[in-house]
């Protein structure tokens, strides 16, 4: 399990320097130093991101793609520069394959509605997995309802691992699209996405990957993995809320009808007829989240400067330590024990309800997520209502894990 962590004696990342970059980490909760273990829900922001957003509004803000004046040209350039940063981050072939949206949820809704609306027919199947976040379930159910297609889900085993054999079995001539998470937000399972894509492509089926956790904890090379769509949210990658990315292969995006109509996505408009702008603007109706996009650019610069390998090694070190300490507590049951996992740990404390645990941990300054993590089908699979989830980002430390374990002792003390 997480053997990489044990092999590395000293993580190559200066975590104290990183922690100093995140102003919120020096605040307190209930008079205790904040121990933030909920980055999988939304990560905290480094000073560089906060400053970039402020600089945008203070000195470089105007609407984009419109003005002939200098400020608008600066704002447009800053916005479009981030498109190139995203392209480089995920190694897309072209910047026009990068669509800025509110978040991953909007990205999946766009693909389900636009691609699904144009391509799905009664009897067709959409194949997802039991690991999915609600945002990779509900949009597909909605388009299935609309088109007469059907949503099917590949089950997981007791460990919450991706079952490749079952996936292959469930691919059928009726399967028209596969939509799978890169890594489970609820239990951390990492899906072998490259093999998933190759297997689906061998049958001519396109694949959408939900990269919300994957982009943070694994990174992606969309040309190497060869996925057709990849979505992620900026706020989980240490960027602002309200900005996310849809990557799509240019030929697919080109063939898809627009998702929303409005300004900025058109070429010419008359009362009876509109011609649409080329990619990516066809899918960016209305004034976008300009400052959020600039902030996302700063977040990408920030994590890129630290380096993906150093972040992964550090997260694996903290994850390995957390698993070791939690396994040492005999009243803790881990939920999800897949061998390949991101730095997310879900667990239960005997018969103590997660919400009670969460409240007690909160009083100790420890922020964890409790509940179903927007993955109710997965909770149903384990026959539980929810879990306590600790997720570790690049700023978390072994000391945070120790604080968590101390907090769990308080839970045990109170509940006897």
């Amino acid at each position: 399990m997480v053997s990489a962590a044990q092999k590395i004696d000293t993580p190559a990342l200066d975590v104290e320097a990183i922690r100093a970059d995140f102003p919120i980490l020096s605040t307190q909760a209930h008079g205790k130093p904040l121990v933030f273990l909920d980055s999988a829900a939304s990560a905290q922001k480094p000073r560089a991101v906060i400053d970039a957003v402020r600089r945008c509004y203070e000195a470089e803000y105007a609407n984009i793609h419109r003005g002939v004046y200098a400020l608008s040209e600066t704002a447009t350039r800053n916005y479009e520069d981030v498109r190139e940063k995203v392209r480089a981050l995920i190694n897309a072939k072209e910047t026009r394959e990068i669509v800025f949206l509110r978040g991953a949820t909007e990205g999946i809704n766009l693909v389900a509605s636009s691609w699904g609306g144009a391509n799905l027919k009664p009897g067709d199947e959409i194949l997802i997995t039991a690991l999915e976040h609600h945002s990779n379930i509900v949009p597909w159910q909605m388009i299935a309802e609309h088109t007469g297609a059907e949503v099917r889900a590949v089950p997981t085993d007791e460990a919450g691992a991706f079952l490749f054999d079952r996936f292959e079995e469930m691919l059928s001539p009726r399967t028209k699209i596969v939509a799978v998470t890169h890594a489970s937000n609820a239990i951390g399972t990492v899906v072998p996405v490259k093999d998933v894509v190759a297997t689906a492509h061998a049958r001519g089926i396109p694949v959408l990957l939900d990269g919300c956790q994957g982009i943070v904890h694994r990174g992606i090379d969309v040309q190497d993995v060869d996925c057709d769509f990849y979505v992620f949210s900026g706020h989980k990658l240490y960027g602002p809320t309200g900005i996310g990315v849809l990557y799509g292969k240019a030929d697919l995006l080109d063939a898809m009808p627009p998702y929303q109509g409005g300004g900025d996505m058109i070429e010419t408009v008359s009362i009876t007829k509109t011609t649409f702008a080329p990619l990516p603007h066809k899918f960016e109706a209305g004034t976008p989240n300009i400052a959020g996009t600039v902030g996302l650019g700063a977040a990408i610069d920030y994590v890129s400067a630290i380096g993906h390998d150093a972040i992964l090694a550090h997260e694996n070190d903290v994850l390995g330590y957390a698993l070791e300490r939690l396994r040492g507590l005999n009243d803790i049951q881990l939920v999800g024990t897949a061998p390949d996992r991101a730095s997310i740990v879900s667990f239960l404390i005997d018969d103590v309800h997660p919400h009670d645990s969460g409240t007690i941990l909160d009083q100790a300054g420890i922020a964890v997520r409790v509940g179903h993590h927007c993955a109710q089908p997965l909770m149903d699979h384990f026959d539980i209502a929810g879990t306590v989830r600790a997720s570790f980002g690049l700023y978390n430390t072994r000391a945070d894990v120790d604080a968590l374990v101390d907090g769990l002792h308080e839970v045990r003390k109170l509940f006897g």
Binding site: H355, A385, L414, F415
Partner: protein
């Protein structure tokens, strides 16, 4: 941990762990489902009301210590009440868990005061009120499950 002891008083831990009137009774005159979408907790309340008097209340479901204890205490205090008295007690209970008002004590509200600590934890108020909303729906015959949202 003194603050937490205000929330998790012995009586709450006791009722949370060993809820009274738990399970489906042999007979009942009204029932309803309750659901807290925030945490996924579910409760089902069974009530027997004859001639306008609540004769018995049972419940089943799963949830946190607060929601289980609140449901358990509710099944005890409601017995013998008229439907109007039950509704008035619900209103009073809601006030207890959401405001700092000093409530004029009577035996019933005194029994429920242990849940008053919840008001310090806004995200947990819904845990305490779920069973009460569900009881309300049961006796008013509401078709849709009670929700805390």
């Amino acid at each position: 941990m003194n603050d937490l002891r205000d929330l998790y008083q012995e009586i709450i831990l006791d009722h949370g762990k060993s809820p009274r009137n738990f399970g489906k009774p042999e007979s009942f005159t009204a029932d309803a489902d309750g659901y807290n979408p925030l945490c996924g907790d579910k409760v089902h309340v069974y009530a027997t009301v004859k001639d306008g008097i609540v004769e018995d209340v049972h419940f089943e479901g799963r949830g946190c210590a607060i929601s289980m204890a609140s449901a358990s205490l509710m099944t005890e205090v409601l017995v013998g009440k008229t439907e109007e008295q039950a509704q008035a007690l619900f209103d009073k209970f809601h006030e207890l868990v959401t405001t700092e008002h000093e409530l004029v004590g009577d035996d019933d509200i005194d029994r429920l005061v242990v849940l008053g600590g919840v008001r310090q934890y806004p995200s947990r108020v819904k845990c305490a009120t779920l069973a009460w909303h569900t009881f309300h729906n049961a006796i008013t015959g509401a078709e849709t499950p009670a929700k805390t949202e």
